[in-house]
Symmetry: C2
Subunit: 486 residues, 2 copies
């Protein structure tokens, strides 16, 4: 009905305006000879472009000046020796430039950086020089001035909200980036959480629509799933990965959008795609309605090492079916009954086939019987279990050292969501304060891509230095704080 | 009479227009993965700005691409490992950039380079990339299309003329640069030779006037000498060095200018400065009219290691006095007699006090009795000795292994000039062919800053890699070839 060009045109029409702010660091001028360095503190995490001037002190510079300019989201990054980085992800994500300047001049570096700290080292100058006129031009598509402060009375929650909205703000550029330092692409999993938090904070509907259209324009894999990520710079490219849970969360994102806007146009345009995602998923269920493993990197769920994700994925399917059938009902689409009937059947199948009575929890033979918080959380969110039983299940699994535990703030979001679903408000607040508050204790200006309280060096990529310290999927505390009036 | 502002205004009025030419190398496209490199050959030496594009091959680049881009005036420079360079002059003159590119894009490097070869190494890319759209935008203020070809019938001289005019062309930018790769400032010694060759080739009078005014605006040292070099980017600065022979050659440059243009305005504006330079020099003569050694780097003459330059400097003084008194006579200035009388006195003093009858050559006790070609050449150019005697003196000294020999093409120019003065036309041609022709045998596209046929690794700065291979003071073969109709 609608084609790629249509969706790309719609995406372009919803290109958000970027707001700019010039940040001048605490230090305004620095006199330097070879080997000297200066650390600039922007006082906040910022995403944007850096410029500065340099000039002679004595008379003339005699030879070009070589500077090494390093950008860090925190001081650990500034102190890390990038030359020691052994590659998992590309070393080129580490934000450092070596530049040669022929004459005293104002220099505007062409690239965009994500940082709070900037360290300039004078690698070589023949004569002393003066560095000055430091300016970091920060950008965001979040209308910061329109943001209402959180009404939380609790000081820690207030602070968590501040850092969470800041995290979202930094990731809101021309689309919802996953992290402005590294990757810088649009993933469905991040989009869903950013859009959700955005409805309660910056309320920028354009960017959400744009992102939905960018995925709608994407090519499908052989199963029919949407791409899990897209780029739009310098031209559109829809990602080569197709992850089943992300394809489902696209549908959820459309449901979220309608719930917060009642905008039928967008839903009508995207409805066929939503249905096709659910049909594609249905096609990979076995005769017992349980999802089967597919080739390659097929489900994400969490970065937890060694995690088996089939039961959790099954829960994501249920969660999506429930949201989607409600949407169809709301817009008067007769197919809603088909989806709700199917939802009931699959829920029943899960209880029968994935719940281990002896162990008292959800496992899956195809998951090698692995016990994980992830499985329980998604079975709860999928409505397979609820009430007191669900609460006990969740708490015991979170306390069970033999169970796979959540690693990413992304998965922690769904843990928290499950708690709110089960009316475990106090537990949820405690969970928020412990986990996100823990990052605050380490001086976070924005919430991180990965955080394991007992392992500050944890990285999904084998080296902490490459981690993103401002990551979209960590922004949802503001969603909880503002939605539930914490 | 005229002040600094006046001269700077005149210099600005004579800012030459730059002509641009886009050079595309032989290779137009290159597919690369991490570690691959491509060598681009511009086919000629060029001074200017480099741009190129890069793009995905497969689908997207996944992570920023890091390139190392190296510029070489010749292949030896490309092959030299810059990281091994131990500093004499600043390593920042070595032309190499490390750049990170976030997205497929056209990239125009902001700096100016002097090169024939460009080597691009892909230091890191996650996906194969395509490099293409290579363009080097060359600039010069020499009107190349207006240059008449040399009428030399000799093939080697024709080729020498071609490379010499090319050398001059490359150094002609917004002023007469000494070398476009390194230093990039205006020195009087280079100006004099460039202006001289320019009268017989590109005939750009604006640039010559501009350079004379730039020096006229300069601050004097305590002896009253003009600065030996000036910068004009990003703003005017007159150099901290004041070299006596260069101060004198400023006066010679004004005489050259009048001789080739009969332009009284410029001469009238600069006459007082010319007189003051000669007065300043006169003040450092002893009672016997022989120049006395001054503090610091006081005379240049040549880069010849260990050279004592007082006798040569005395010759530069005589040479200047002769030219200047002729100029005064030509413009009807009565002081010409004062200068020609003084010229005769000083010549006589030189013959009496600097000529060693036993050794049969010019030496100077203050020069530790050192024997050098430089002393003989400048005594000849100063008119202290001439005819057969001078010819024999020059030849025997050039063949004397115990005599200090010229090192720079700059000093070789004055050797050649002395030969023409003595009507040694054949010897002069042979000298041109041997010396400048020798560089051609090593593949020179432009003539070098330093060349010792028996020591190709010679550098005035302890490391050949830093040498300039396109140097203004090496361009004068075209002056000789065209002036004398060789």
């Amino acid at each position: 009905m609608y084609d790629r060009d249509f969706f790309l045109k719609k995406a372009q029409e919803n290109l958000p305006v970027l707001y700019y702010k010039d940040i001048t660091p605490d230090i305004t001028e620095f006199l330097a000879s070879t080997g000297d360095s200066v650390l600039l503190d922007l006082g906040e995490h910022a995403v944007g472009h850096f410029s500065f001037s340099f000039d002679n002190i004595e008379d003339f510079i005699d030879a070009p000046v070589r500077l090494i300019i390093k950008f860090g989201e925190d001081m650990r990054e500034i102190e890390d020796d990038f030359s020691l980085y052994e590659e998992g992800l590309s070393k080129t994500w580490l934000q450092e430039e070596i530049i040669n300047l022929d004459f005293p001049q104002k220099t505007a570096l062409p690239r965009r950086y994500a940082c709070r700290y900037i360290k300039i080292t004078v690698d070589k100058t023949n004569k002393p020089i003066k560095l000055f006129d430091f300016c970091f031009r920060a950008s965001t598509s979040a209308a910061v001035s329109a943001l209402k402060p959180s009404e939380a009375s609790d000081t820690l929650l207030k602070k968590i909200d501040l850092v969470a909205t800041n995290t979202l703000k930094e990731c809101m550029q021309t689309f919802f980036e996953d992290g402005p330092k590294r990757d810088r692409r649009l993933w469905i999993g991040d989009l869903r959480l950013e859009a959700l938090t955005n409805y309660y904070t910056f309320k920028n509907l354009e960017i959400t629509k744009r992102c939905l259209y960018l995925f709608a324009a994407g090519g499908r894999d052989k199963l029919g799933f949407l791409p899990s990520f897209v780029y739009d710079t310098p031209y559109y490219f829809s990602g080569s990965a197709h992850i089943a849970d992300y394809a489902l969360l696209f549908v959820v994102s459309v449901c979220d959008y309608y719930e917060h806007t009642a905008d039928r146009t967008v839903v009508d345009e995207l409805l066929d795609i939503c249905k096709s995602q659910l049909e594609s998923f249905r096609a990979i269920l076995d005769k017992n309605l349980i999802v089967t493993r597919q080739e390659g990197w097929f489900a994400f769920i969490d970065w937890c090492p060694g995690l088996e994700g089939l039961t959790a994925l099954q829960g994501v399917y249920l969660y999506t079916l429930e949201r989607f059938s409600k949407l169809l009902k709301a817009i008067g689409d007769d197919e809603h009954e088909k989806y709700s009937l199917h939802l009931c059947e699959v829920r029943r199948a899960c209880r029968e086939r994935l719940y281990d009575e002896n162990a008292g929890c959800f496992i899956n033979e195809l998951d090698n019987g692995q016990l994980s918080v992830h499985s329980q959380v998604w079975m709860i969110l999928g409505g397979v279990v609820d009430g007191k039983e669900a609460e006990e299940l969740l708490i015991s699994c979170l306390e069970n050292k033999n169970a796979k535990q959540p690693v990413t703030p992304y998965m922690r979001h769904y843990v928290t969501e499950a708690m709110f679903k089960l009316n475990m408000r106090d537990k949820a607040v405690q969970y928020l304060k412990t986990f996100w508050g823990g990052m605050l204790e380490h001086g976070a200006d924005t919430f991180w891509e990965a955080y394991i309280p007992e392992d500050l060096d944890f990285s999904p990529y084998d080296n902490r230095t490459i981690n993103s310290l401002c990551h979209a999927w960590s922004c949802t505390p503001s969603y909880f704080i503002r939605k539930y009036g914490l």
